[in-house]
């Protein structure tokens, strides 16, 4: 198959960007989207031009580094699939494919399709952890956790931190990402001692980074390559409301 590409090119954060067109010929439908980009980049380089910069690493949908908006959708057309696991069989022969970076104010474009998602790291640094230092942990089976809770926590913990939720949201909200981490830890007994302190610190940092508010369109959930549920946002809002009612000395809780 043959496809045309309209790719966002931008030299650096300060420079203005523009779309440029490229052609990808004799594409095998079993190629991944990024492998198609590799081939196009190789041709661009041989011509003496600078290849398209894009973030990618594991190429198996788990590291969360890849971050393209393809035909207007973060991570492209397939549901529950990251950019790197998108295959050319998802496109039509002769199609023009538009490729852009994840766009949001807190994710400045660094070059072409590469954006800076450092804001996500700073939100985790503000509170997305259990404060246990290495050593001294009790035996792993000393604390039984219900399978149901553990599975729910896992579903939230499966977030890969890619930022598609932010790119999909018309408000540039990071609520799905933040609530996934809040839920992962709030659902487990290990997360209880800091439960309210955590949600407060993370939401405060989220606001500081300039992410927008949630208006319940669920575009985030639809774009999420790991199908993180928007119900996590409701859980976060409840916990945040409780946190606001409490003082800084957050009481211990026994779970939901």
């Amino acid at each position: 198959m043959n496809v045309k590409l309209k790719v966002w090119r931008q030299k650096n954060t300060q420079a203005p960007g523009e779309f440029k067109e490229y052609e990808a010929k004799d594409v095998n439908p079993n190629m991944s989207f990024l492998e198609m980009m590799d081939v196009v980049n190789n041709e661009i380089t041989v011509k003496g031009e600078e290849p398209v910069a894009f973030d990618h690493d594991c190429r198996e949908g788990i590291c969360g580094m890849c971050s393209c908006v393809i035909n207007g959708e973060p991570h492209g057309p397939e549901y529950k699939v990251a950019t790197c696991q998108t295959y050319m069989r998802s496109f039509q022969d002769g199609e023009t494919i538009t490729v852009e970076p994840f766009r949001a104010k807190p994710f400045p474009v660094l070059r072409d399709l590469v954006v800076d998602r450092g804001a996500f790291d700073r939100i985790i640094q503000a509170g997305g952890f259990v404060s246990v230092s290495t050593g001294g942990a009790p035996d792993a089976n000393a604390l039984p956790v219900s399978k149901q809770k553990s599975d729910l926590a896992f579903d939230a913990a499966a977030c890969i931190g890619c930022g598609a939720c932010v790119a999909a949201c018309k408000n540039g909200s990071a609520m799905l990402f933040v609530s996934a981490k809040v839920s992962h830890l709030a659902l487990l007994p290990q997360g209880q001692p800091e439960r309210y302190r955590r949600v407060k610190a993370m939401v405060d940092q989220m606001d500081k980074e300039g992410f927008g508010s949630c208006t319940n369109t669920y575009a985030c959930e639809a774009a999420c390559p790991k199908a993180i549920s928007a119900s996590n946002i409701a859980r976060m809002n409840r916990d945040y409301a409780v946190a606001l009612l409490l003082n800084d000395d957050m009481p211990e809780t026994s779970g939901e």
Binding site: L34, N42, E50, E78, A140, L188, Q190
Partner: protein
């Protein structure tokens, strides 16, 4: 320089406890904050080390080339992590985990290190659970386990098919906490390009900011490399595209010995190659072999048929046939070679003939599709995304691929290389897996090194060294910066015609053809001629566009591939010199009558530590692998 492994005296089971309580020096808590430690890499080993050292009070800087420390390729490990908890009551113990790991490594791993690994394995699980890692649980609320290759007990803890992800997120969160507290300064999108050695001690690194291109020096009291393995020397592998050996290789060029580079692991269950454009290979977790049965048609003429139409009696379940007691759970090296063998006989399946079936129909009949989906759902989804086939309905096709490298920088029992002050953790070092790594052991080793070994052993160096704190305006730092900048200029100014990707592909093909699953003297000699020739061509004919002071991914890759040429040569040389077969290193000349690896303990029971010799033939130093309590035996999984 002589190699002193510093293995403590005394009975095996007491070495580590005695070492950490009596033999190594401590740093006073108030003094810890005076020490700067540089940690390169933020995977399981790097993140756990950086977090733990910061918790202890050291001042830590941590570097990773990805945009966030959460992206390191530990995240892609699927199956699980071993620990001798004996929660199943099936007879597991530290001794049994030790024995399995030593045997799995084909008696080429260091006894004392492996025993320590088995001992701390239980602490790792406790620590991770305390962090909130959502391991699989049973309805009673306790942790679940499963079995993995090379073991006859269920000791593998797992988090669906994403164990590596959950463990890495745990370590990332511990690291993030320390960053938030100001105890760790994190440098994402930063690549280490040189180690600075002062008076024989590693005292700093030179890095390149991958966004601005800025070359910068960082001084420290110790340098820790936790930068992973070198499997991408083969180009196609299950590694992340960015995984590289530049940090370890440049340390090697500065004097750190590189040990056992020929010990590479080929994983038996990967999705087969589909075409020339392929950029990476995807692993399907070995845990699938708990319930999947591996087979090929008995008759060549059946290979093109729909597998569902091939009668039971016409199928060859070759692993069950050859290794009845371990069956489909035979260790990785053995399973991989068995797959190659049946494909070489012309009984491979799929378009290329390089594939075997992994069939779940028995498990689905026995357990129902729902249970199979619960256990492996995400893997079946992944398989479907890549191949567009439904593995609940039709058997998966799998083929071996490069997955892990057991070799790495030589380290002593304290995880310090022969360069004082340079420590190497996780896959980047050579010490714990011998010639073959068992499944679910890599996560164990990475976290053991980072959480429970380096926090003790680094103190011994810091407490006893008299080197003092270096400054980055020292001439050695300036020289290293100039060397790095010159190297980048050289790459950018080559003005040739071929792209980095093109060279990498060609290098990978040489490596796979001559130093892949089966190696011969002739093949390795050929590779040792072809690789330097290709490297010369690379130096003359590389085409790069763009400059240094910007994001330039081709430039990053060019530096990494440049190092892979040299590393590939060392790998082939090591494979050539090691005239025996052991674990992942299979020399076709040395095999038993039924095609199993034939070890030669009299001549080769040593770790080969290579010293860089600026372009000339490297010098070999041997560390004898001495087993004080284990009896070396021929591995049998029959």
């Amino acid at each position: 320089m002589s190699l002193n492994s510093k293995i403590p005296p005394g009975p095996l089971a007491q070495k580590w406890s005695r070492h950490k309580s009596d033999l190594i020096k401590l740093v006073n808590p108030a003094n810890k904050r005076k020490f700067d430690i540089l940690v390169v890499g933020s995977g399981l080993a790097g993140a756990s080390a950086a977090a733990t050292l910061a918790e202890l009070g050291y001042k830590v800087k941590c570097f990773c080339f990805q945009d966030s420390s959460r992206r390191a390729h530990s995240i892609a490990a699927q199956g699980g992590i071993n620990a001798a908890k004996n929660y199943r009551n099936d007879g597991d113990s530290v001794t049994r985990l030790f024995n399995d790991t030593i045997k799995g490594g084909d008696f080429r791993a260091r006894e004392a290190n492996v025993h320590r690994l088995a001992e701390v394995s239980v602490n790792i699980i406790d620590q991770c659970v305390a962090q909130g890692v959502p391991f699989a649980r049973e309805y009673g609320g306790l942790l679940d386990n499963r079995s993995f290759g090379g073991a006859q007990v269920s000791r593998t803890f797992y988090a669906r098919g994403q164990t590596g992800q959950q463990l890495l997120i745990g370590a990332y969160q511990a690291l993030s906490r320390q960053i938030g507290l100001g105890n760790v300064k994190m440098f994402p999108r930063t690549e280490m390009l040189d180690v600075v050695v002062l008076n024989g001690h590693a005292k700093g690194i030179v890095t390149r900011d991958l966004v601005s291109g800025k070359i910068e020096s960082h001084a420290g009291d110790a340098v820790i490399l936790a930068t992973g393995g070198y499997g991408n020397v083969y180009n196609l592998s299950t590694y992340a595209r960015g995984s590289n050996a530049t940090a370890t290789w440049r340390a090697h060029r500065k004097g750190a010995y590189f040990a056992n580079p020929c010990y590479t692991q080929i994983h038996p269950t990967c999705i087969p190659v589909s075409g020339e454009y392929q950029s990476k290979l995807t692993l399907m977790s070995e845990s699938l072999r708990n319930d999947g049965r591996v087979w090929v048609p008995k008759k060549k003429e059946d290979c093109g048929k729909d597998p569902r139409s091939i009668a039971e009696e016409d199928r060859d379940y070759y692993l069950e046939r050859k290794y009845p007691s371990y069956g489909n759970l035979a260790p990785r090296d053995i399973s991989s070679r068995a797959a190659k063998q049946v494909c070489d006989e012309g009984r491979g399946v799929g378009e290329t003939g390089l594939g075997v079936y992994l069939d779940f129909s028995d498990a689905i009949n026995r357990l129902g599709q729902k249970v199979v989906a619960q256990r492996y759902g995400n893997l079946f989804d992944m398989y479907h995304e890549i191949t567009h086939e439904n593995a609940y309905d039709i058997p998966m096709r799998i083929y071996p691929a490069i997955h892990y490298t057991m070799g790495g920088l030589w380290v002593d029992y304290n995880l310090m290389s022969n360069l004082p002050g340079l420590f190497v953790l996780g896959e980047a070092n050579f010490s714990d897996h011998g010639a073959n790594r068992l499944g679910a052991s890599a996560l164990m080793q990475g976290l053991a090194d980072g959480y429970f070994v380096i926090p003790y052993t680094i103190g011994d160096y810091l407490a006893t060294t008299k080197e003092g704190k270096p400054k980055t305006d020292n001439s050695e730092f300036k020289k290293a910066e100039t060397d790095v900048a010159d190297g980048i200029k050289r790459l950018l100014n080559t003005n040739g015609k071929r792209t980095v990707a093109d060279f990498h592909k060609q290098l990978g093909k040489i490596m796979w053809d001559y130093a892949g699953m089966a190696r011969t003297k002739e093949g390795l000699q050929k590779a040792l001629q072809e690789i330097p020739a290709l490297h010369e061509e690379f130096k003359k004919d590389l085409k790069l566009t763009g400059g240094n002071e910007e994001i330039n991914q081709s430039l990053e890759n060019a530096g990494r591939v440049d190092d892979f040429f040299e590393l590939g040569q060392l790998l082939c040389l090591d494979a050539l010199v090691r005239e025996e077969s052991c674990g992942g290193h299979f020399r076709s000349e040395y095999q038993t009558e039924d095609g199993e690896a034939l070890r030669n303990d009299e001549q080769f029971a040593y770790a080969a530590a290579w010293q860089y010799n600026s372009g000339k033939t490297p010098e070999l130093h041997k560390e004898a692998i001495v087993y004080e309590e284990t009896k070396m035996a021929t591995r049998s999984y029959k």
